[in-house]
Structure formats: structure tokens, C-alpha cells
């Protein structure tokens, strides 16, 4: 049984694990939610953060330096790094879709066992927002999904097949939850790591999708 006490701790645990994947010189786009916590844990000085509303070189900002006209895609205040640049929305998505962003870290509602994700719509509810999710899925060289392993009702979010509308036909590369780290290789899930306090048995119980366990 996972040792995590609350949702906030879970989010930080996942963000910290994501940060370990980001080594060397990379351009990384961070989605809304858990991904925005990743910068706290980055070890490389050479990571450039991209936000699709038009800034390459996102940093944290101190409370007293908050500028209402300087925000990330989640509309939260950010700062600009040394060597940053601003651009318009079409140039920003040209970067994304054109394959110039190395890594995208996204949240998801569901992932299937081939690595296809659903993260923009829920059937029966109005389809109201997609933002940059579909663009990031087709464009980023590597996509890492962060999410809680199960829904509030305890049901698995890693499914044989997504029941919500998919975001792209492209499989993500990695899934990181509070329980496990999966890689997607040849459209198959490989459990490559158990998160602290998690057991294979727990992951098996809480994962609907088929997966193999590969100790790395």
C-alpha cells in the first residue's frame, strides 16, 4: 500500500520522479497540474521551459515580482529566464507541431495499454476545451504522462481501452503515477519501476491494462 498521505504529496512525488527523466539540454513543455511542479525538482541547468501561450524560458516568479501579463498556459504567474524569448501563438504552435520541443509533460484522464491517452473531454459533459493538448501529442519528440493511478472511486485510469475521446493516435512514451512508472515500447506497457511504498501486487490490482514487468 502506497505510503502517500495526501493528494499534494502524491503530486510532488510524481513531479520529482518526472524530473529524473529530464537530463542534459532539453526544451520541455509543461502541462497544467502536476507538470507545473516539475521545475522544483530539476537537476539540469540546461532545461528550457516552453509555454504555448508564447514564452520560451519560463521560470518561477517571486510573489512580489508577479506581472499580470506574464503567465503560463495555466494562466498562473511565471518569470522569464536569462535568454528567454517571446513569440505569438502561431509561432509557438509551429514550434510544437514542427517537432522542435523535446519533451511534453501532460496530465491525462485515461491511458490505454497501447499508450493512447484521453485528456480533453468526458462523454456526457460538454466538450468545452482542448487547448494545446492535441498539438503537443503530435509534435513533442517525447511525451510523459503524469496522473493519479486511479480515479476518486478507486477505478483504474490505465485501461485496456480509453472510454473517453482520445487526444491523439500517437502513443505516449512514459506514464508516471504515484504507484508506478511505465514505458510504452512498441505500443505495449512495460512497468519499469515501482514508486516508493508501492508493490507489484498493488499495481496489478489497480491497473486494468495489460503490462509486462521489466526490471531495469
Amino acid at each position: 500500500m502506497s505510503l502517500i498521505k495526501d493528494k499534494n504529496e502524491m503530486k510532488h512525488l510524481i513531479a520529482k520522479r518526472v524530473a529524473k527523466e529530464l537530463k542534459g539540454s532539453l526544451t520541455v513543455n509543461l502541462g497544467i497540474g502536476i507538470p507545473t511542479l516539475v521545475p522544483e525538482y530539476l537537476e539540469s541547468d540546461d532545461i528550457q521551459l516552453h509555454t504555448e501561450n508564447g514564452l520560451l524560458g519560463v521560470t518561477d516568479v517571486a510573489e512580489e515580482d508577479i506581472d499580470p501579463n506574464l503567465v503560463n498556459a495555466g494562466k498562473l504567474p511565471v518569470g522569464e529566464s536569462i535568454g528567454a524569448s517571446y513569440f505569438n501563438s502561431s509561432d509557438s504552435f509551429a514550434m510544437i507541431r514542427g517537432g522542435h520541443v523535446d519533451v511534453a509533460i501532460l496530465g491525462a484522464l485515461q491511458v490505454d495499454q497501447t499508450g493512447i491517452i484521453a485528456n480533453w473531454a468526458v462523454p456526457g459533459k460538454n466538450i468545452m476545451g482542448v487547448g494545446g493538448a492535441m498539438d503537443l501529442l503530435v509534435g513533442a519528440k517525447k511525451v510523459i504522462v503524469t496522473m493519479s493511478h486511479t480515479s476518486k472511486d478507486g477505478s483504474s485510469k490505465i485501461l485496456k481501452k480509453c472510454t473517453y475521446p482520445i487526444t491523439s493516435t500517437r502513443s505516449v512514451d512514459m506514464i508516471i503515477t504515484e504507484l508506478a512508472v511505465f514505458k510504452v515500447v512498441d505500443k505495449q506497457l512495460q512497468l519499469v519501476e515501482l514508486m516508493p511504498g508501492s508493490t507489484l501486487k498493488e499495481v496489478e490490482e489497480k491497473t486494468e491494462a495489460n503490462f509486462t514487468y521489466v526490471e531495469e
Binding site: T51, E52, N53, G54, L55, I66, D67, P68, N69, L70, V71, K75, E80, Y86, F87, N88, S89, S90, S92, F93, A94, I96, R97, A121, N126, I127, M128, G129, V130, G131, G132, A133, M134, D135, V138, G139, P165, I166, T167, S168, T169
Partner: protein, 228 residues
């Protein structure tokens, strides 16, 4: 010739009911709040609004929405204003949802005189339903049409009197591309300067695109929107 106008309603006089209007901004950031306020004062209806969001609840385009002046919204993320969903449920507004990159690219294409383009974004998803799919060099794309509007309402940081524009930080977003894609382009700015004060290398929107300049009177601050 100066494109500056003192009076907001005078600046908006080209707008008529039934028109398609591009509105800049990412949420309230970089949104032309003064011009939107002018639109709220104006007697128009049945507008098609192309904007990433329809503001927030009761703010920016959200206030226009609550006046029932918007017939249709074209955007990528209406979720930021819960009123949009309510109106959609009641059948009081049509919505067209586009991926954000497709929204921005279609506007750019419209301004550049293109008929449309093929993008990988959305292929195989519900947002591709009804759209032509085509394989080019082994990759699947869908066709997206360009967007060109009657009017664009945008926000910039500074304008010279000719209409050259520069922007401020992430308030740039959709504004420069919308400036290219409408018959009438009206911009609100924090400051109007004389020609020559903007460095020609640093102009983001050349004056050729701009019809009318007004001074911003509604400003987004840390404490929210305030009147100047």
C-alpha cells in the same frame, strides 16, 4: 496620417450585427478589454467571436456572452468560463472547438491569403470528424480551412501613429496574427508614440495591418481589471 481615435464608439463604428470578429488574448491576458467594453455598450447582436476563450465568467468576453450578443464562438478552451457551458446546454450559443495550434494557424493562414492547410493535429480524434484526411509522404493529415474576419479587436503595448505595434510579454499571444486576418483591425494600446520611436527591427506588427488605434482604459492588474 494618424490612425488614433479618441472615442471608442467612433473606433467601433465599422462593427455590425452578424459579423465575425477576432478578439485577441489568452483569457484576460492580452485581451482588448477596452474595446470589448465598447462592444458591450454597443447595440449589436448575432456576432461570431473567434477567440481562444470567451473570457471568464462575467469578465471580458464573458460579459458580452451574458448579454446574448454572441451567436457562435470559435475557440480552443471555453472551459475557463463556466457560463459558456450553461448557454451551450440551453442551445443559446453555437460552439466550434479547435485545437489551439489549429486555431492560431487558421488565423495566420487567413491573413496570409491561403485557403487552408494540412495538419497532423487532431488526426483520428473526435475533432477530425467531418474533416478531409489525406496522406502526404506517408503521414496522415487533416485539412483545416483558414479564418478571415470582418473585424479584429486586439491589444498591444505601444503603437506609433502610423499603426506599427509592439507587444508586452505573454500578452502578445494571438494579437499579432489576428492583426493580419480581418478587414478592419482596431487596436488598443497603453501608449501611442510618434513614428520613429519604435525601432524598425523590433516592430512586431507592421502598420500595414492596422486601421484604428485607441488608448486602453481597462487595464489588467494583479488585482484584476481596473479602469484607467
Amino acid at each position: 496620417m494618424s490612425k488614433f481615435k479618441e472615442d471608442i464608439q467612433d473606433a467601433l463604428s465599422c462593427i455590425q450585427s452578424g459579423q465575425t470578429i477576432l478578439v485577441g488574448g489568452f483569457g484576460l491576458v492580452g485581451a482588448p478589454l477596452t474595446l470589448i467594453d465598447g462592444l458591450i455598450q454597443k447595440d449589436v447582436k448575432d456576432l461570431t467571436i473567434v477567440s481562444n476563450n470567451l473570457g471568464e465568467s462575467g469578465k471580458g468576453l464573458g460579459a458580452l456572452l451574458n448579454q446574448n450578443k454572441i451567436k457562435k464562438g470559435i475557440g480552443s478552451y471555453f472551459t475557463s468560463n463556466r457560463d459558456v457551458g450553461d448557454k451551450y446546454q440551453k442551445g443559446e450559443i453555437e460552439l466550434e472547438l479547435l485545437p489551439q495550434g489549429t486555431l492560431s494557424e487558421s488565423i495566420r493562414a487567413g491573413g496570409a491569403g491561403l485557403g487552408g492547410y494540412y495538419t497532423t493535429t487532431g488526426v483520428g480524434t473526435d475533432l477530425a470528424i467531418g474533416k478531409e484526411e489525406r496522406e502526404i509522404d506517408g503521414v496522415k493529415y487533416i485539412f483545416e480551412k483558414s479564418i478571415f474576419a470582418d473585424v479584429a479587436l486586439i491589444r498591444a503595448y505601444k503603437a506609433d501613429r502610423l499603426g506599427n505595434l509592439v507587444y508586452y510579454k505573454t500578452a502578445r499571444n494571438f494579437n499579432p496574427i489576428m492583426a493580419t486576418a480581418a478587414k478592419n483591425v482596431i487596436v488598443e494600446v497603453d501608449e501611442v508614440v510618434e513614428p520613429g520611436e519604435l525601432n524598425p527591427e523590433e516592430v512586431i506588427t507592421p502598420q500595414i495591418f492596422v486601421n484604428t488605434i485607441v488608448e486602453a482604459k481597462q487595464i489588467l492588474t494583479k488585482e484584476g481589471v481596473v479602469s484607467k
